[in-house]
């Protein structure tokens, strides 16, 4: 498949804009891990860390965290540094799914900073919306969300869209998303990478081809980032825990304890039984997802952007069925989460230095629910 894709020209820049929940983290981890080797092939992945989110948030003037509480503006200099580094005469790749909900004017300005439509190509990675739904819900859970999956789906598919639903579809209406980028850099500079469900290498092959890298260079670097999905019972545990504590925590406190302390450790250190119930999308929503997916598949095929992979994959129906809310949690899951938090808390004796951090940050209580991460 990769051989049929022509690389972007040397001296140009590939801007990977997500979308969220399409395997972006795996790609970014591989790019970061291969950074030195990339240089040998004339490819620059700017910066030193795994992600470029900070620079992108800075460039977009976007905040990160709970709205109304603890959301922080990122200093502009992070973007300026990235722009500086991206002046590279080989190929440059920048990747952040936080680009998937910036408004066109902001995106246009950022592209302008990076050398404009004559230098920048955009890659949009897409998975079927049916696969996105449970992932997006889970991602929200990791940010304090308390609505059950069914309620989330009702919000997403309601005729009358709430602002939250608007935000969701701004990101995940795949046709509109791709069209926004086509309008900015042109259809011939817009790549749509369709990732079949369960295919862990498609994203690597596509970027290897677009960056003219030897086949397998990125795929071989696939770090086992255990960013696996939560099972139904794990998700329910996190949801209920959010209900119990999220209101009384600031974003920082939530991140430190629940997100990193409990959820991340539960997901990373535990390997659920293969027969443990996965999250199922109820049939009514699976129907809707399939419908939307069909519309996206058709629209993507018709929009003139360069498509890598088969748009028909976007119309896949998600794993569906009726589910009962789980009432029990596997013991190893409970232990993995709590043990990690106990350990974390016992080694972090607060110091004067931390107090300093607290003073300078001036934390506030959380005003109301809602997160902008998904």
């Amino acid at each position: 498949m990769s051989s049929t894709v022509a690389p972007i020209p040397a001296g140009e820049l590939l801007l990977h804009v997500g979308v969220h929940k399409t395997g972006t983290t795996a790609l970014q981890a591989a790019l970061a891990d291969a950074r030195a080797q990339l240089v040998e092939h004339g490819v620059l992945y700017p910066g030193e860390g795994t992600f470029q989110h900070r620079a992108i948030l800075a460039g977009a003037g976007r905040k990160y965290g709970w709205q109304g509480d603890g959301a922080r503006e990122v200093p502009k200099k992070h973007w300026e540094e990235l722009v500086e580094q991206a002046r590279h005469n080989g190929r440059t790749v920048i990747s952040s799914e936080f680009l998937d909900d910036v408004d066109p004017a902001t995106a246009g300005a950022m592209i302008g900073d990076l050398g404009g439509a004559q230098r920048v190509s955009v890659a949009v990675t897409l998975r079927s919306i049916g696969a996105i739904l449970p992932s997006a819900w889970q991602q929200r859970l990791k940010a304090g969300y308390t609505a059950p999956y069914n309620q989330f789906l009702k919000m997403v598919f309601a005729e009358k869209r709430t602002p939250k639903a608007e935000r969701f579809w701004y990101r995940h209406d795949q046709v509109a998303q791709v069209q926004r980028w086509v309008d900015l850099v042109g259809a011939d500079r817009t790549y749509v990478v369709v990732i079949p469900d369960g295919d862990r290498t498609a994203i690597f092959s596509a970027f290897e081809a677009l960056l003219d890298l030897p086949t397998g260079l990125l795929a071989a670097r696939q770090i086992s980032i255990a960013n696996r999905s939560m099972t139904a019972q794990e998700a329910e545990f996190v949801r209920r825990l959010n209900k119990e504590v999220a209101d009384s925590l600031t974003w920082d406190e939530y991140t430190r304890t629940v997100r990193r302390g409990i959820v991340l450790n539960m997901v990373e250190t535990r390997r659920p039984d293969p027969d443990e119930q996965k999250i199922l999308t109820p049939d009514w929503a699976a129907d809707k997802a399939q419908q939307a997916g069909q519309r996206f598949a058709d629209g993507i095929a018709a929009c003139g952007a360069r498509v890598i992979g088969d748009p028909a994959e976007l119309a896949r129906r998600p794993r569906s069925g009726a589910t009962q809310k789980p009432t029990t949690l596997a013991l190893d899951a409970a232990v993995a989460g709590t043990a990690a938090l106990v350990r974390r808390s016992t080694w972090s004796q607060p110091s004067r230095k931390q107090a300093l951090g607290i003073l300078l940050r001036r934390p506030q209580r959380r005003a109301e629910g809602g997160s902008d991460a998904d």
Partner: protein, 387 residues
Amino acid sequence: MESSITPIGKGEVLLHVGLHKTGTTALQVALADARGVLEDYDVRYPGKTLYHHKAILAGADRPYGWRDNGARITPKKHWKKMLKEADYPGRTIISSEFLDDIKPEIGARMVDDLGGKQRVNVVVTLRAIGAILPSAWQQGLKAGVTTGYNQWLKVMFDEQQTTRAERFWYRHDQVEQVRRWAQVVGADRTYAVVIPDGDRTAIFTGFEGLLGLPGGFLANREQIIQNRSMTTPEAEFVRSLNKELAGQMSWDEYTVMVRRALILNMVEKRRPAADEPRIQTPEWAADKAEEYGQRFAKGIAELGVQVIGDPADLAVRPRSGSSDRPESLSIDAAVAGTAGLVLEALAERRALEEKAKTVAAAAPAPTRGSRWTARGAARALKRGFSK
């Protein structure tokens, strides 16, 4: 049940020595709650806190905590203070189950400190050993034990007693326990209160009688202390967590995080469904428990001490049956425990935050606009934190 029990003499001391897991906390909480009015009846419950554990640990020179990590000796002054308060013309009641495993010579010394055997009466509260077993195992879990119930029972009933089993039976061989005290203060000054399984008022009635208090005086003060038993899945959760954390924390850390923040919240904040499995003693161990119970019932009756209640209740067979090791935990339980943990994990940080804010408010103007400057904040904190 207006009392057929003759109260101890005026000016005397009633020393309640436990045992562990016989409802001592409920009694102590009621006594503490009644403290203000007790003296109207010429009864004193010394101190200001719920329990007398601190004073007793001090008096017995008994360390508390994990033997190899974090065990501490309590300063003697706590005992001395107690002695002063116990010098009272009415009846004094001292209660701590930490007396149930001290050596006889230490027990005798403490009795002497309190005025000797002409002044001190000892009361031992007893429940059927079959009821003690699951409670004792659970109590162990709350202190970091990683052994499963069946394994633990094997250790306790093994012919070859390990140190741990010896410690257990030193406390829970009820005949030996009561005999030790009878030898210190005499059989006529030793009371065995038998608490039938599931009877929540027997302990109150017993003490109301011994202290000359009106019937119901203590029982009516029973607080809802949700010191309920853990269910099988809860217990297995704690055990697995103990295993996961074994050797990685100090006693203090364990107490704060696991015991108080996690376990206590899980047990207190949640009411398990009626069908959630309760801990069952396997048949072989229930047989043993019944056998031991019969021996204890008989032995207690023969010791010549003053028995309140029916010794036959000590021979009751525990709820028995085979149980599979649970693999999952009710999400309620996981949430209650984890939420407690989360808030505890943040407590110190929040306290620091408060302190930082106080310091900030007290320090004059190291700010620019409404925000702290880094240097200003650092200076303010240095001052605040060196105080």
